[in-house]
């Protein structure tokens, strides 16, 4: 689920960050369909418009400003 959208984001990451720096973007298929200041607003508006599970929200911040999710104990992914 959302693999296509995430692949689009990762492929165009630097362009999207340059264009939408600091904003939350909503991606459906391979298109940016919304730009927001807050993730909660983005979530509510996109849920109304597309339905849950149909859109991908990503924060457009340069990698140096992004908190990498790290876990040192008791959690397993994959």
């Amino acid at each position: 689920m959302l693999d296509r959208e995430y692949h689009y984001f990762k492929t165009h990451e630097s362009d999207l960050i340059e264009r939408y720096n600091g904003k939350f973007i909503a991606i459906v298929d391979e298109e940016v369909v919304g730009v927001f200041d807050s993730e909660l607003t983005a979530y509510q508006e996109m849920k109304k418009k597309y339905g849950l599970g149909k859109f991908l929200l990503q924060h457009c911040v340069p990698s140096k400003d992004r908190v990498i999710q790290r876990y040192h104990s008791r959690v397993a992914f994959g």
């Binding site: 689920m1 959302l2 995430y6 807050s38 993730e39 909660l40 979530y43 509510q44 996109m46 849950l52 599970g53 859109f55 991908l56 929200l57 990503q58 908190v67 990498i68 999710q69 790290r70 876990y71 040192h72 104990s73 008791r74 959690v75 397993a76 992914f77 994959g78």
Partner: protein, 194 residues
């Protein structure tokens, strides 16, 4: 002490010393109570506080029970066997987290993953919303959290303040510290005579 407007807090007091900080929390799909929309279903889960985690994780069971759908993806790093760091692509969900005593955190981006001994792992993203402290006085672990952050907590400053107030001087020097002090005095005396 001054209190910021809207400050909320909770304290958990255990009967003995505990090695993991567990709280019952409620989770729901993200919603903004200010919008007046109907509240989504929220359910109780066991959460563990983990300052070794940069962000919060929910078990896949929660996503299933609350019918959450992913709204993002994130690359996450976890330390596995042999101290190796592994990178995974995890789904993310937007949720509200209801801590005890009406302490709410609205619109938290969480990943899903398997969690040992709990359903929710509360990471530094939640802790960073406020002030968190743990004490073990008289063999009872207490932990307390308030949000937003109100003021720094500094045990060293507390001791210094107490000592100033009661006219108590710094702790007496150990034998080793006394010897070092004598050597320093001798060196400075020699330097003065040159």
């Amino acid at each position: 002490m001054k209190f910021l407007p809207g400050l909320r807090a909770f304290t958990t007091k255990s009967n003995g010393i505990v090695r993991e900080l567990l709280n019952q929390v409620h989770i729901s799909e993200a919603y903004d109570p200010a919008t007046g929309q109907p509240e989504p279903i929220k359910r109780p889960y066991i959460a563990v506080w983990d300052c070794g985690a940069t962000a919060t994780v929910i078990s896949p069971k929660i996503a299933q029970e609350l019918n959450l759908q992913p709204s993002g993806k994130e690359n996450v790093h976890s330390v596995g066997a042999g101290d190796q760091s592994h990178e995974y692509e995890a789904n993310t969900y937007l949720v509200n987290i209801y801590l005890p005593n009406n302490v709410w955190i609205v619109g938290v981006r969480v990943s899903d993953g398997g969690i040992a001994g709990a359903d929710v792992l509360l990471g530094m993203d939640i802790i960073a919303f406020g002030d968190f402290a743990i004490t073990n006085h008289n063999g009872h672990t207490h932990w307390t959290f308030r949000t937003p952050s109100n003021e720094p907590i500094d045990f060293v400053e507390e001791i210094n303040e107490h000592n100033r107030k009661h006219g108590i001087h710094a702790a007496p020097l150990s034998q080793d510290e006394k010897r070092k002090q004598r050597n320093r005095d001798k060196k400075s005396k020699k330097a003065r005579h040159r």
